[in-house]
Amino acid sequence: MKAKHQRLTLLALAIVAVLGAVLLAMSSLRDQAAYFYAPADVVRKGMPEGKAIRIGGMVEDGSVRTARDGVTIDFLVGDETDATIPVRFRGIVPDLFKEGSGVVAEGRFQADGRFVATEILAKHDENYMPPDLSRDRSKQKTEALK
């Protein structure tokens, strides 16, 4: 094989490999990307039952209950609307998980409307708020200033 032909073959192989990988990646992303829902989104778009998603909002004051086994908790996630999502989580919650502060949970909705979280995301910053909420908060703040 001539050097030039070999170079063209290698180029074709490289393009096929990278494009193939990217196409495969894009197609599997369609199934496996977890979308982010705030409680209001669940009301608006309907509950995506059984699909892996993330929800985010504020832990409602007075809503955290610990089950008898000591490691399962139930709580409500709310946002600036009246909508709330009941969440159940088995595990140790991150240190910054508190009533009245921001939370992001990953998991799935069950048929009865309860969100079973597989992970409560630790946002290691006492000032953390889910991006959506902080945007709304700053909007409220600017509106209050007007």
Binding site: K4, A17, Q32
Partner: protein
């Protein structure tokens, strides 16, 4: 005074970088000897000045000079000195200064040491370095001055994020940055060679130590970062596919591909254009990595800087550099000569397969990391891409890559017989078969990916040792040893990953002191919980004793810590290491009935993951020493004749 001196040194260093670029360009343009000789000293002076500036910042942090805004915002006088030092780069401005300092120092090192490549290529390389430095100096001085003074010094600093107050993390960012910047040096060499149309094996030999060096630091940085996340975050996992982890993995993948293709170029004169392209890709990935981490575009545990203006600045730099590099590549690739040819079954063929697979893995990681950002920018919809995607997309490709890695070193350069190669890998294949049988018999319910991982690890470990077979070990070149050790490290690490995912046992309980729980082969008694105090924190510390059979009990003491500055709670996992795995305990919160939440893991052979990573880096170090020594020896011979 120190802050002003540091700032002045930084401005001087910054002003030398356009000079270095201009002198280099003129020297190449005019072919003037006088000008050519002036470039090296400028690069060395720039290195010295930026070094002084960085030392000034270190001094400010060690003295906790609170009149400097950066110190006041990130340090505290009551911190142990190691964390005062780590505080220098535990923030946006300081870490960017570190970036530029390493860039300047490596430019100085090239100017001081590099004598083998053509002088013209070297000057073009230094000019390219200056061009990269220019953008980052501008970024530092215009958008993130680390020496900014406060009008009114506060009585006390705000302190460093407690999660970052950890010896492992003190050295994690510098290690990764050296890796990133080392890749930019390799890239500058590629630009230099393109500019002077000098892409050949001489250039590859000059570039190789830099690629190797950068790759060693990236490997160590990723390994250390993974272990840090494992014990500090207390989630029991060792890799989260967090965008910031991916930001360090992507340059590593590209650098690994580059490391292998530059070997083909240096020994056989092949894969010329491809090697240059990989250098461009590797540099782009380290720029993307810097962008992801430093722009604050990600809301993840690592992204501490949130400032859209800065993000935009880095994005513009990113586009300018990558665009410029690709344009230069497009314009000059026609002048790169075709290299020596080779048969499909040959060492070169194996290395091409390695490169293609690494590129494909890089592609899937890249898409997965940037997809959420792209979707959010285009549609405003938020989504996250997690382990299920990355494991299913990159996992199988990585397994194929390990198989190629096992066979590659057993194939001859230029051309080889497929049958002869099969004979050489017969023993590793048999060992893999045995491992498969044993695993299926002992653990019938094991998952596919971990099963394949363990089977491949057995084959790859034995195959990686095969190049030493029949050789006199002490006369084997150090670079061959390097390859053997690094490939063995990959197999060891793979075994650890597969074992961790297949055999980990987990228990989650709420216990009163005196009660017990079982995890894996261990029975664990919750003895007591007591308040304790550290230098800048207080904590509840649990005492657990873990027994397996008749062994002496292991004592585990996980803590839940409260830091005072800034006020934050963290949990400190407690880990006991045995030869066959680690026991991992996390203390949660108490409830009204005096019960404490405990999360316990038994992770068989998990330590192999990081042991393998260290072996990979060690292999790199062997290869680097071997190459540098050989280069020096050949130079001595040349000057002697």
């Amino acid at each position: 005074m120190i802050a002003e001196a540091g700032l002045a040194a930084l401005w001087l260093a910054a002003s030398l970088s356009p000079l270095q670029l201009l002198l280099g360009w003129l020297a190449l343009r005019l072919g003037d000897e006088q000008l050519m000789r002036s470039v090296r000293p400028v690069a060395i002076a720039q290195a010295a000045l930026v070094g002084i500036s960085f030392l000034a910042l270190i001094q400010l942090f060690l003295r906790t000079d609170l009149s400097v805004e950066l110190v006041a915002a990130n340090s505290h006088s009551a911190k142990p000195w190691l964390y005062k030092l780590a505080g220098v780069w535990g923030n946006h401005e300081g870490s960017m200064l570190l970036w530029v300092t390493i860039l300047g120092l490596s430019g100085g090192a090239i100017a001081w040491f590099e004598r083998t490549i053509q002088e013209r290529t070297l000057i073009a390389t230094l000019a390219a370095q200056a061009a990269i430095g220019l953008g980052f100096y501008a970024f530092l001085l215009l958008a993130s001055n680390p020496f900014e003074r406060l009008n009114l010094a506060p009585a006390q600093g705000k302190g460093l994020n407690p999660l970052l107050q950890d010896p492992g993390l003190a050295f994690h960012p510098p290690t990764l940055y050296i890796g990133y910047v080392g890749i930019s040096v390799a890239f500058s060499f590629a630009v230099g060679a393109l500019v002077t149309r000098d892409v050949g094996s001489e250039f590859a030999k000059a570039m190789r130590p830099w690629v190797l060096g950068a790759w060693i630091f990236l490997t160590l940085g990723i390994t250390a970062g993974s272990y840090w996340a494992y014990y500090e975050l207390g989630w029991g996992g060792w890799w989260f596919w967090d965008p910031v982890e991916n930001a360090s993995l992507m340059p590593w993948l590209a650098a690994t591909a580059l490391l292998h293709s530059v070997t083909v170029l240096a020994t056989r004169g092949g894969l010329r254009a491809w090697t240059i392209m990989l250098a461009v890709v590797a540099f782009s990935m380290s720029m993307v990595g810097t962008f992801l981490v430093r722009s604050g575009i990600l809301t993840s545990v690592h992204a501490f800087a949130v400032d859209p203006q800065r993000g935009l600045f880095i994005l513009i730099l990113l586009i300018l550099y990558i665009g410029g590099a690709l344009t230069l590549f497009g314009l000059r690739v026609g002048t790169v000569k075709e290299g020596a040819t080779f048969a499909p079954v040959s060492r070169e063929g194996g290395l091409v397969a390695n490169n293609l697979l690494l590129s494909a893995i890089l592609g899937t990681v890249f898409v997965g990391t940037l997809y959420p950002l792209g979707v959010e920018v285009l549609t405003g919809e938020k989504l996250s891409v997690g382990p299920p995607y990355f494991n299913s997309a990159a996992g199988p490709l990585a397994l194929v890559l390990v198989a190629v890695m096992a066979a590659g070193p057993l194939i001859r350069w230029r051309t080889d017989e497929a049958r002869a190669v099969l004979k050489r890998v017969a023993l590793p294949i048999m060992l893999s078969g045995l491992a498969l049988l044993a695993l299926l018999l002992l653990f019938p319910s094991i998952g596919t990916l971990p099963l394949l991982g363990l089977v491949l690890a057995a084959g790859a470990a034995s195959a990686s040792l095969a190049p030493l077979w029949g050789r006199k070990l002490w006369r084997t070149p150090l670079s061959t040893w390097g390859m053997v050790v690094a490939h063995l490290g990959i197999a060891v690490s793979l075994a650890g990953m597969a074992s961790e995912s297949a055999f980990t046992r987990q228990t989650l309980v709420a216990l009163r002191p005196g009660e017990s729980a079982v995890v894996g082969p261990y029975s664990i008694r919750f003895d007591s919980v007591d308040p304790i105090a550290g230098p800048n924190w207080t904590a509840n510390e649990a005492k657990l004793s873990a027994r397996r059979g008749g062994d002496t009990p292991l004592i585990l003491s996980p803590q839940a810590r409260m830091f005072s500055a800034p006020p934050t709670e963290t949990s400190e996992a407690s880990i006991a290491t045995r030869l066959d795995g680690q026991l991992y305990a996390v203390l949660g919160k108490p409830d009204e009935q005096e019960r404490w939440q405990l999360r316990l893991w038994w992770k068989p052979f998990v330590t192999l993951i990081w042991l393998g990573g260290c072996l990979v880096a060690l292999g790199g170090i062997f290869a680097l020493i071997g190459r540098v020594r050989r280069k020096r020896r050949s130079r001595v011979r040349e000057s002697g004749s």
